[in-house]
């Protein structure tokens, strides 16, 4: 036996490194790697070859910048260039362009669905939304605002990172199906003034002014404001309301939408002061919550935050970060109902939340092989109120005060064992004043078996904590449940990524999501609704994507996803869960920079509605012509959305009489932008 081992050792003796690795690795496999250096072969590449090397990097997957292929998740990145090229108007339109993500618009809010899961009434709460690292999910409903109620004008976005899979091991609550992380444009990027005006279907008009600059002393600022208004379709027909007293189902001029937002950042060396505010008022035409389509029904949502963030890299390579923030969320809805004896009364529903938060983190790479990160987070409500009352005659149904306090701490690390094998792992502890503690881990192995190929085997757990609405709201028709536990998910995923050459890339994913103890609304014996931890579900999926990119802005991308979802109790397919989705996007220069085209095809198969009807499938084609630098500083963009005029439908939530809600047909937008 000894002789054989010796022979084997001898056959490797050509390299002393290998022999050392062989001997040492039995006892201390980690030590072998320290001697290696990163990519000395890069020096041997020609300039042409260097120019073809991919340097795509992602931050939000591990809270430090790393190559996409090294990240312990399936990652997609959307850049500002694509947002312009495809004429996307809202974050929702960006999100639905990305493999594995979909959206549902109920003519008021837009909800994010991920990997075949978008239960109606979830408010997009199972995805964590970050703006420059700041948590955007609100404290009352956990909602993510992605439509016209979105926090940012999408033209102030530099890039959006989509991190699929459970992220609670780093981010705590809401990072259930994934994390969407937005980076805003810097002052240096804006460099001057941008003035933008746009006009589109339904008298939709919008204006934006953005200022930005970086001074030679390092001071940098960006300030942007947008004003938006839309009349919406003048007539919307809802067959469910087709009675004489409801104008034969026609909601007339009932879909108005007004929003404004301000966002700014000011940086000096390691410090950034950042803040923003959005206010949106929406007329709700759908007769939701038992109202009538032509009666008053509108919602107002205000969301804002201000924060001071710190980021510093020490002389010996420690990356330190911290932030202190103050957030507000205000929601108000007015809904008019008929009085039995004639006339009308108005019901006023509202939520008010203010909270502050602290975060600190540190990250360091040891021996060029071992990356270690840790951090803590603390969040506490200042105000957390919900109220519901009738005005004249005044009757108070709900007047609830709640509080929330969350503490979280995480450690995360990755270890480059050999040049082709990396192990990642981490866990996070969270404590909520409501239900107590939860610990969520993630592990993974990242293998690079061949040049240009990366395989990731990943496992992770995540949770969404019950929110203030589910825990504490109390009225005639809804009773909060203070004993709710978090809903949980366990995900196992295999990701494969391959770069064919400088232009083509392919990615594939196979995953299984086991969702446990979903927070679900149920009727109690007295006829009031309450939330319980009831219902498990499983989603299995396959995702395939091919992408080609060339200099000068040419892009080709196609993806296919198949998601098979199942309610564990009934064995039935989940509602609003498209089995098959297909996406294709192409951007082509026509006359160089002067004129280019962006074409997008989005297909989604038939989905079940909440009442087990079907939506029918969806075919969306969007086209944008973009002209840059026709005159210095001038940019013109013309878009047609839903070119095929597909009046597709999405499932309606329980607040709607409509089981299916028809979406807008063909619309257009013309946008003029001038920078000076």
């Amino acid at each position: 036996m000894d002789t054989r081992e010796n022979q084997l050792a001898k056959s490797d003796a050509a390299s002393g490194y290998f022999r050392r690795a062989l001997l040492v690795s039995v006892f201390f496999p980690l030590a072998a790697a320290f001697g290696q250096q990163t990519s000395p072969h890069l020096l041997d590449l020609s300039l042409e070859e260097l120019g073809a090397v991919k340097v795509d990097s992602v931050f939000a997957a591990s809270k430090f910048s790393e190559k996409v292929t090294d990240a312990p998740s399936s990652v997609s990145i959307v850049t500002r260039q694509e947002i312009q090229q495809f004429g996307w108007r809202t974050l929702a339109e960006i999100i639905r362009s990305v493999r594995g993500f979909d959206i549902t618009y109920d003519r008021n809010y837009t909800y994010i669905g991920v990997r075949g899961f978008n239960r109606v009434g979830d408010y997009g709460s199972k995805t964590l939304l970050l703006v420059d690292g700041h948590r955007m999910n609100d404290l009352v409903f956990d909602s993510t605002f992605i439509g016209t109620e979105g926090f940012l004008d999408v033209d102030t976005i530099e890039r959006v990172e989509f991190i699929r899979g459970p992220g609670s091991a780093l981010y705590g609550g809401n990072a259930f199906f994934g994390v969407i992380s937005i980076t805003t444009r810097s002052g240096a990027d804006v460099r001057g003034v941008e003035a933008v005006a746009s006009y589109g279907s339904f008298d939709t008009r919008s204006g934006r002014l953005t200022f930005g600059k970086k001074f030679s002393n390092g001071l940098e600022f960006m300030l942007s404001g947008t004003d938006y208004a839309s009349d919406g379709p003048a007539r919307l027909y809802f067959p469910e309301f087709d009675t004489p007293e409801n104008n034969h189902g026609i909601a007339y001029r009932a879909d108005g939408d007004r929003a404004w937002n301000l966002f700014g950042s000011l940086s000096y060396h390691d410090f950034t002061l950042r803040g923003g505010y959005v206010s949106r008022e929406k007329d709700v035409p759908t007769g939701s919550f038992g109202s009538r389509p032509n009666d008053l029904n509108n919602t107002l949502d205000d969301r804002g935050f201000i924060e001071l963030a710190y980021a510093h890299t020490t002389e010996n390579g420690w990356a330190l970060s911290g932030r202190a923030s103050y957030d507000i969320y205000h929601y108000q809805s007015y809904v008019e109902y008929p009085l039995e004896k004639g006339g009308k009364y108005v019901n006023n529903d509202s939520a008010d939340a203010r909270w502050w938060g602290f975060e600190a983190g540190a990250s360091h790479e040891f021996f060029n092989r071992f990356r270690f990160s840790m951090g803590v987070e603390f969040r506490r409500s200042i105000d957390l109120k919900q109220a519901n009352y009738d005005e004249k005659p005044r009757y108070v149904y709900a007047d609830v005060t709640d509080e929330q306090e969350v503490f979280g701490a995480y450690v995360d690390g990755n270890f480059q064992i050999t040049k082709w094998l990396k192990a990642v792992g981490g866990l996070r502890y969270d404590h909520y004043n409501s239900f107590g503690e939860t610990v969520n881990p993630r592990f993974g192995l990242i293998v690079e078996p061949l040049k240009d190929t990366s395989l990731k085997l990943l496992y992770g757990e995540a949770f969404r904590a019950p929110n203030s609405y589910e825990l504490a709201y109390n009225s005639l028709a809804f009773i909060g449940n203070p004993t709710l536990q978090p809903e949980r998910i366990r995900t196992t995923e295999l990701v494969a990524e391959h770069y064919f050459d400088a232009h083509w890339r392919a990615a594939a994913s196979v995953f299984q999501n086991d969702i446990i103890a979903l927070i679900t609304s149920r009727m109690d014996a007295g006829g009031a609704a309450t939330s319980i931890n009831g219902g498990d579900a499983r989603v299995r999926g396959t995702e395939l994507e091919v992408e080609g990119k060339w200099g000068g802005g040419t892009l080709l991308r196609a993806s296919y996803t198949r998601h098979l979802s199942e309610d564990s109790e009934t064995g039935k397919e989940l509602e609003n869960s498209p089995r098959d989705s297909f996406r294709a996007q192409g951007a082509f220069p026509i006359f160089g920079e002067k004129l280019s085209a962006g074409l997008e095809l989005l297909y989604q198969s038939d989905r079940f509605t909440a009442r087990r009807d079907r939506t029918g499938d969806t075919w969306l084609v969007n086209a944008t012509l973009l002209s840059r630098e026709l005159r210095p500083g001038l940019e013109i963009s013309a878009s047609i959305y839903n070119l095929l005029d597909d009046h597709y439908r999405v499932p309606g939530g329980s607040e709607h009489k409509q089981d299916r809600l028809e979406q807008d047909g063909r619309t257009f937008r013309l946008k003029l932008s001038y920078r000076f």
Binding site: M1, R4, E5, L8, A9, S11, D12, S15, F18, A21, L22, S25, V26, Q37, T38, S39, P40, H41, L42, L43, L45, L47, E48, L50, G51, A52, V53, K54, V55, D56, S57, E66, K67, T69, D70, A188, R191, S216, N217, G218, T313, E315, T418, K419, W420, L421, E448, P449, L450, K451, D452, T453, S454, Y499, A502, K549, W550, G551, G553, L555
Partner: protein, 175 residues
């Protein structure tokens, strides 16, 4: 027997380790490789070196990872017969370098001004750096890293950018 299999597996692993090469790289290491190439493909006047054996000094401003990558990669490298020396430098030391790399976090305009008239190649970041008088500038392009060149700016500092470098540049700023 177990020990035998274990050894087998480890040998296989060790062989694999040697044979693989990375496909997507960190930005810092690609920049380091570019900088080394720049040092080889730009011609300095002989007066810029005290002797034929004097080092070619590459200065990196700020605390970017590019500096570490470059120092590691160039440990025993030469450019134009000169040993390459990598230093971290501040604004006041720009003129002590042959090539200075100014990351985004540092003052690009300041470095261009500081190097004016001295045989220093100033390499910076972004679309506008070369237009503002930097000799070379890194730019991102479809997930890859390219560079813009301003040979006239280099010439004002007495440097000649080789045709090979200009051929590969994404954009060459006209005079």
């Amino acid at each position: 027997m177990r020990a035998f299999y274990r050894t087998h597996i480890l040998t296989a692993l060790a062989l694999f380790t040697g044979s693989s090469a990375a496909r997507a790289e960190s930005e810092a290491s690609v920049k380091a490789a570019y900088l080394f190439n720049f040092a080889k493909l730009v011609e300095w006047p002989s007066s810029a070196f005290s002797s034929g054996k004097a080092p070619l000094v590459i200065g990196v401003m700020g605390r970017e990872a590019v500096g570490d990558e470059l120092a590691r990669a160039c440990a025993s490298a030469t450019a134009g017969g000169h040993p390459v020396e990598v230093r971290r430098v501040s604004m006041s030391e720009v003129r002590d370098c042959h090539l200075v790399y100014v990351p985004e976090s540092e003052r690009g305009d300041g470095a261009i001004a500081a190097a004016q008239g001295a045989p220093v190649l100033v390499v910076g970041e972004g679309e506008n750096f070369a237009r503002r008088g930097g000799a070379l500038a890194f730019v991102k392009d479809s997930g890859t890293l390219k560079f813009d060149a301003n040979p006239a700016a280099a010439a004002r500092n007495g440097l000649t950018v080789s045709a090979k470098l200009l051929r590969v540049a994404r954009t060459v700023v006209p005079k």
